[in-house]
Amino acid sequence: MSSDGEGATAGLETPPPSAPRPAGARGGTLSLFASELLTLFRRRRTWALLGALALIPILIAVAIRIAGDAPSGRGPAFLGQITENGLFVGVTAMVVAMPLFLPLTIGVVAGDTIAGEASHGTLRYLLIAPAGRVRLLVVKYGATAVFCAAATLTVVVVGSLIGWALFPVGPVTLLSGATVSVGEGLLRFLSIAAYVTVSLLGMSAIGLFLSTLTTVPVGAMAATAILAVVSQIMGALPQLEWLHPWLFTQYWLGFADLLREPPVWDSFVDNAVLQAGYVVAFGALAVSRMLTKDVLS
């Protein structure tokens, strides 16, 4: 990282006070990002959230194993396929988790980013380290994005594993009727996890912005989760159809298109563009708020 690394321990004792310091910015930011991830994933709350998400596919699989198949046409999408192919547990759980449970966990992590530091008073110490206001924001957002991926992977991976354990597993019959191998089926499910992760990025940016506004993390968390619910309600009202293309929840359940043969990527692309728009807009709001904010906590 720096040329004086060799003698740095000894140099700690006696560098001249005004010695120029090494300025390797990129390694430093990676180091901060690693430290942020370590902090996030060393926190018990993070594991509690992921554990709660893992419970969804487990509950679904165990319930079906005990009670048997539901009458066809009832229950969430893909529920009927589970008894034939256990790999569908993950997708079914994703359909169940998407409207409320996933947004709730993301709301907790995104809403906590800056407000949580402010409430502990650690924001001032990070800033005088100095972390750099924008740099800290970017690192916090990056860690939230990693959590989004961890959350969706938890649902899909735990779902596939528990399905494997409790039900027969075989070649995957897609929505279009075609059948693909187990390996390709698993790839499709992983691409669903990627789709959902992207779906949550816009919401994470909203949470990040709300988190810069307050020193009460619960406020930012609740506001973020509530916005996700409100957006879905508006998405369900036909009277607001003109608004639908702009809602960040609009393509949330569009991942079924990845289970066609060949896979239809249109909604993936539309979704990614929409989410990128939200990331840019709320990212800019968060940056401008962060740069002008008086840190009094």
């Binding site: 901060l32 430290s35 008073g121 380290a129």
Partner: protein, 333 residues
């Protein structure tokens, strides 16, 4: 000794700007209707141990937050280590260690993890030496044994030590310590004092805010006093003490005669009949007469007063502080 905020242009003229570790001009912060800091002109020489005094709510912490770029000034400006703040915050702050308004840590992380985290936030701090520097800083504040414990299990004093360790992770040119001995036992207070002395001996400028005057008196070379958002006095400790009026104490059985003579010299004699009668002591403030002590004795003797004892009393830091900031809970708001 500068008279604080009224004569603002003075700081720049006091000598070479590079000799100042902290320098502010008309630094002001207004929160909505309240003026928290009002035209402060600080001048902290390099190498000084500067005691930043003031009652609670006098604007000390807000001033410190502005110096560290946490809060934007409403008016005026600050230079820290010769560089404009907050414009060059990224190049100045790596050279500054600080404890601001009490220590703060993530309670679910250990002391070591917390320090490593803050160190990782400083992009100038070499990663290779991080573990060693964290250990050394913990050792310096006597926390080596507790480094692996989660911070929520720390006592207030331990958190305070950890906060000081955080300020010492790198070699700093300037340390800003806001109430560093808060929550420490007498033993810990002594340790912090000797730590400040040893840092100052190494050439580090130390800016300590405190309301514990005795503590400041023991370690500081300079003081500044805040009251109601204004800097009402600053200078070296000696200048500051001399700023107070001297008092003379005369021990004599001839109380009435002594009072007459002292009043004749233009001094303000304390009206304290008990003291005169019981202790045979008459006290007087020198007042505007600025008369030399030996002249006072000569005048007393010439006036036929039997002088058994004579003492010149300098104002203590506490007296000066109270003179400047008001008595008891009656502090200026």
């Amino acid at each position: 000794m500068t008279g604080g905020s009224s004569d603002g242009a003075e700081v720049g003229d006091r000598g070479d700007r590079r000799d100042l570790a902290i320098e502010t001009h008309g630094l002001t912060k207004r929160f909505r209707s309240q003026l928290a800091v009002d035209g402060v002109d600080l001048a902290v020489p390099r190498g000084a141990v500067f005691g930043f005094l003031g009652p609670n709510g006098s604007g000390k912490t807000t001033t410190i937050r502005m110096l560290l770029g946490l809060v934007t000034a409403s008016a005026g400006g600050a230079r820290v280590l010769g560089t404009d703040m907050p414009r060059h915050v990224d190049s100045v702050l790596p050279r500054v260690g600080a404890l601001v308004e009490g220590p703060a840590f993530s309670p679910y992380l250990s002391g070591v993890s917390n320090l490593r985290r803050f160190d990782a936030a400083d992009r100038h701090a070499p990663r290779r030496t991080r573990a060693a520097r964290v250990d050394e800083a913990l050792d310096r504040v006597g926390l080596s044994h507790a480094g692996g414990k989660k911070v929520h299990a720390y006592s207030l004093g331990m958190k305070q030590r950890l906060g000081i360790a955080n300020a010492l992770l790198m070699r700093r040119e300037l340390l800003v310590l806001d109430e560093p001995t808060n929550g420490l036992d007498p033993q810990g207070t002594r340790e912090v004092r000797s730590l400040i002395r040893s840092l100052a001996d190494d050439g580090t400028t130390v800016f300590v805010s405190s309301h514990l005057l005795a503590e400041v008196e023991q370690v500081c070379s300079h003081v500044g006093v805040m009251s109601a958002g204004r800097l009402v006095a600053q200078g070296t400790l000696a200048e500051f003490r001399d700023g107070g009026e001297a008092r003379v104490l005369v021990r004599t059985p001839d109380g009435a005669g002594a009072r007459r003579v002292l009043q004749g010299l233009g001094m303000h004699v304390d009206d304290d009949p008990d003291r005169a009668a019981v202790e045979h002591t008459v006290a007087a403030r020198v007042g505007p007469s600025e008369i030399a002590p030996e002249a006072v004795v000569a005048a007393l003797v010439a006036g036929g007063v039997r002088v058994r004892g004579f003492e010149v009393e300098r104002a203590s830091l506490e007296q000066r502080f109270v003179e400047l900031t008001g008595e008891g809970f009656d502090v200026v708001q």
